[in-house]
């Protein structure tokens, strides 16, 4: 396993000068950070030359404090039994990167979701604008500066009684004058 990891790092480093690797994981995993311009070429290289034919996951993480969005690609090689993480950082105010759905078809779905939820724009992505939400007027909801609780409070009706952690048993007993059975008292706070 160790040799395979070393070999992968060597080959990637030889071809992509800007790839910064990380290799101190307990599981079968190697990690590369690259510039966003390199993403399509490194993914093509991983898939076509190195046998990472399966795209496991694409994720996006909002690092609000650093003003950046991080996009992570996780690819898997059935031959070497190893997974490679390729990550890149985008500017949070203007997140634009290249579309990669010509490499893996299913990337299209991930990109649609990322566009809607994080506002990441993919150049050349052909897909309907709306994916999960309908007539959404707020900011991209998965960004950390969008406050879901405040939005829900403002938009929806709430049934009273959830403000504090009430003991439901006592409430019921007070309302109906009903005795709390002994076995239930044991669990009451």
């Amino acid at each position: 396993m160790k040799e395979i990891k070393e070999n992968i790092i060597q080959r990637i480093k030889a071809n992509f000068a800007d790839a910064a690797e990380k290799n101190d994981f307990k599981d079968n995993r190697v990690d590369f950070s690259v510039k966003k311009e390199t993403i399509p070429s490194i993914l093509f290289y991983l898939k076509d030359e190195m046998g990472f034919i399966h795209l496991s996951h694409i994720s996006c993480v909002d690092w609000l404090e650093e003003g950046e969005l991080e996009v992570v690609f996780i690819v898997w090689s059935p031959k070497d039994k190893i997974k490679v993480f390729v990550r890149t950082r985008l500017d949070r105010d203007n997140p634009v990167m290249d579309n990669v759905d010509m490499i893996w078809r299913q990337a299209n779905t991930y990109e649609r979701e990322m566009r809607e939820m994080f506002g990441v724009q993919f150049t050349g992505l052909v897909a309907p604008e709306e994916f999960l939400l309908e007539d959404w007027q707020g900011p991209p909801p998965f960004r950390r500066d969008f406050d879901t609780a405040a939005y829900a409070e403002k938009t929806f009706w709430h049934r009273p009684g959830r403000e504090d952690a009430q003991d439901v048993r006592e409430t019921i007993a007070n309302r109906d004058g009903e005795e709390i059975p002994d076995f239930a008292k044991k669990y009451s706070r």
């Binding site: 309908e134 007539d135 879901t148 829900a152 938009t155 009706w157 049934r159 959830r162």
Partner: protein, 181 residues
Amino acid sequence: MMNDKNSQKIVDIIQNWARKHSIWVLAYGTGCGAIEIPPTMTSRYDAERLGVRGAATPRQADVLLITGYLTVKTMKRVIRVYEQMQDPKYVIGFGSCTINGGMYYDSYNTIKVLDKYLPVDVYINGCMPRPEAVLSGFAQLQKRIAEGRANGAQQYKDNLEWYRANQKKIIPNWIMPEYNW
């Protein structure tokens, strides 16, 4: 007056007796509660012995079973479906998330209180309610029908403006036909 059993006319009593023994549920699993519907309908719990069975289209159905949370996007379809259903029609709210939002109380995309948007006749609580609870909910609905108290549809008709205002508050792009029955 509707709520008083004594005020039922004899024809109402016969009608309600017939209605309570043939509850056709619209097969629309709006949320995760749909997973407990197949066990309820199949051999072990066999809801059909209470006259409860599935119906494929809204026009044939009597009960709209809201199985769990309703997202705003589904809400629009559910209202449309409810308005397509013909009288007599009842709504059962299924699961904690229809009652007070359940564990999604702070989600930006699910409604929290169903009875502000649709008239609910019976709530079944739990996450997930067991098939026994579902059956008991249906039995409760039957009882209410027999007593003439399951008058959600009438309530919806009477307070249509209030319901509409609530619905339009969460659905920004309102393209629906008028409700006229």
